[in-house]
Subunit: 298 residues, 2 copies
Amino acid sequence: MNTVLFRDSQVRVMENTVTNAEKYFGQFCSLLAAYTRKTARLRDKADQLVKQLIDFANTENPEMRVTLRNLAEDLAKVQDYRQAQVERLETKVVNPLKLYGTQIKQTRAEIKKFKHVRNNEIKQLEKLEKLRQKSPSDRQMISQAETSVQRASVDASHTTHQLEETVDAFQKQKLKDLQKIFSDFVTIEMVFHTKAVEVYSSAFQALDNYDLERDVEDFRAKMRGVCGHYNAQPLTDTTLSAAVPWSLPAQRDRSIIRSQRREEEASKDHPAEEDPVDDLKGLGWDSINRMKAPHMEK
Amino acid sequence: MNTVLFRDSQVRVMENTVTNAEKYFGQFCSLLAAYTRKTARLRDKADQLVKQLIDFANTENPEMRVTLRNLAEDLAKVQDYRQAQVERLETKVVNPLKLYGTQIKQTRAEIKKFKHVRNNEIKQLEKLEKLRQKSPSDRQMISQAETSVQRASVDASHTTHQLEETVDAFQKQKLKDLQKIFSDFVTIEMVFHTKAVEVYSSAFQALDNYDLERDVEDFRAKMRGVCGHYNAQPLTDTTLSAAVPWSLPAQRDRSIIRSQRREEEASKDHPAEEDPVDDLKGLGWDSINRMKAPHMEK
């Protein structure tokens, strides 16, 4: 009877292994899928922030405009990296966990087959026991039953061996995959955070370089500029009510001065004033396309 | 009439400044509040993952158990940093943006006051114009009206000056705050991502150190251990059906062998087998408290 009991406890070890894998891999899969979705939502919010920063930049003087655009550009870059993070999490973490269902089903089928064979062994043993009690003198029947028990036992031992191999392979693969999936998860996160540190470091520098005093001077000049402008060329009521962008002349003048003072920055300032398409200049194409297309979100 | 026109266009510059600030600061406030909430939700998902990792670790052999616990610990640390990030975003980014409402209201009130004074100036001018057309010879009335215009003009010029100062101060403060708020945002993000890189680097190392072969050997030994156990002490059916943890004896034996082989790791393996409270051993108190308390989420 020891063999049967051993097989009972051994199958329990195997069943536990498969049951735990099924339970926890399922949970990991849905948790990591949710984690990926929440990351995608964070990316969407940051994308909206990028858009608002660009819109707002266009209402500001050149100094703040350049600063906000640089910030928007850097923030968009981080979202491009986040998008890559989302795609990698899906491919290398969530999908492999999903595929586990099939492997678990196969192993479950092996265990079911084993249980069937084992039940047959127990049935034959019980039959033999009954015969020995009911007709202990019927040597032929007992011998027949003993042969059946032996056959069932050989079957069970064979199936046990098969099952052992299956569960062994399953366990080895499971451990390997666990290490691989979580290493991939950690690597994907690590790459994203490293890139984010890089981009935010440069964003911090750009914000730090912002010249508040120059911007305030620009604002004051604009107020005076409006004054000087109207004093030089008195306007009729009609001209005043026309929808001319109020700050354009003053800005053009100033951006010419700026281009003389800081040649390297002039190329950034000029086109944006004339062409609204250039609002997204300098942003990665990825983030522009993402802004246009609705995001995949399950 | 030039002065009046100038004031009209100047007030439009000022109104635009305040209107844009109101519009965009409001949008930045709600977008960044949403960004903070989404970050908090990401933290919550990761906290759930930490819990599941610990639960699953307890069903695994020592090798994988230690590996998964270390991973859970590192993941919990990242969430502690994310919690700090959420709190800092609220204090240093969202709240200052919220406070802008008050400042904008005050500046709006100044502009309203100015418009009232300016309208009076226009009214006095119109009155004088009418008088000049209707009774051009009534020197006394015209002189009186001229005095009124002058007084209204002085008033308007005084209020304009006040308004200019208010808007100047408002603009300067706004630009300063913009730089401060976004610098804080970038710093908070940068600190979080830097910490995350640190923690994930160590998590990657821990996963890399995982010994698959030893774990597979452990699993096989457990199967054989169950076998040897039942062979040495044949059990009755009653003992078998009792709810004794199936793997405990084999695990104990192995953990003793392990403690001889790897003294330094033994302390990690032992208590967890006896005391489920130790599941959270090594995790920061922050993350434990966060797991117990429901998260603040608006």
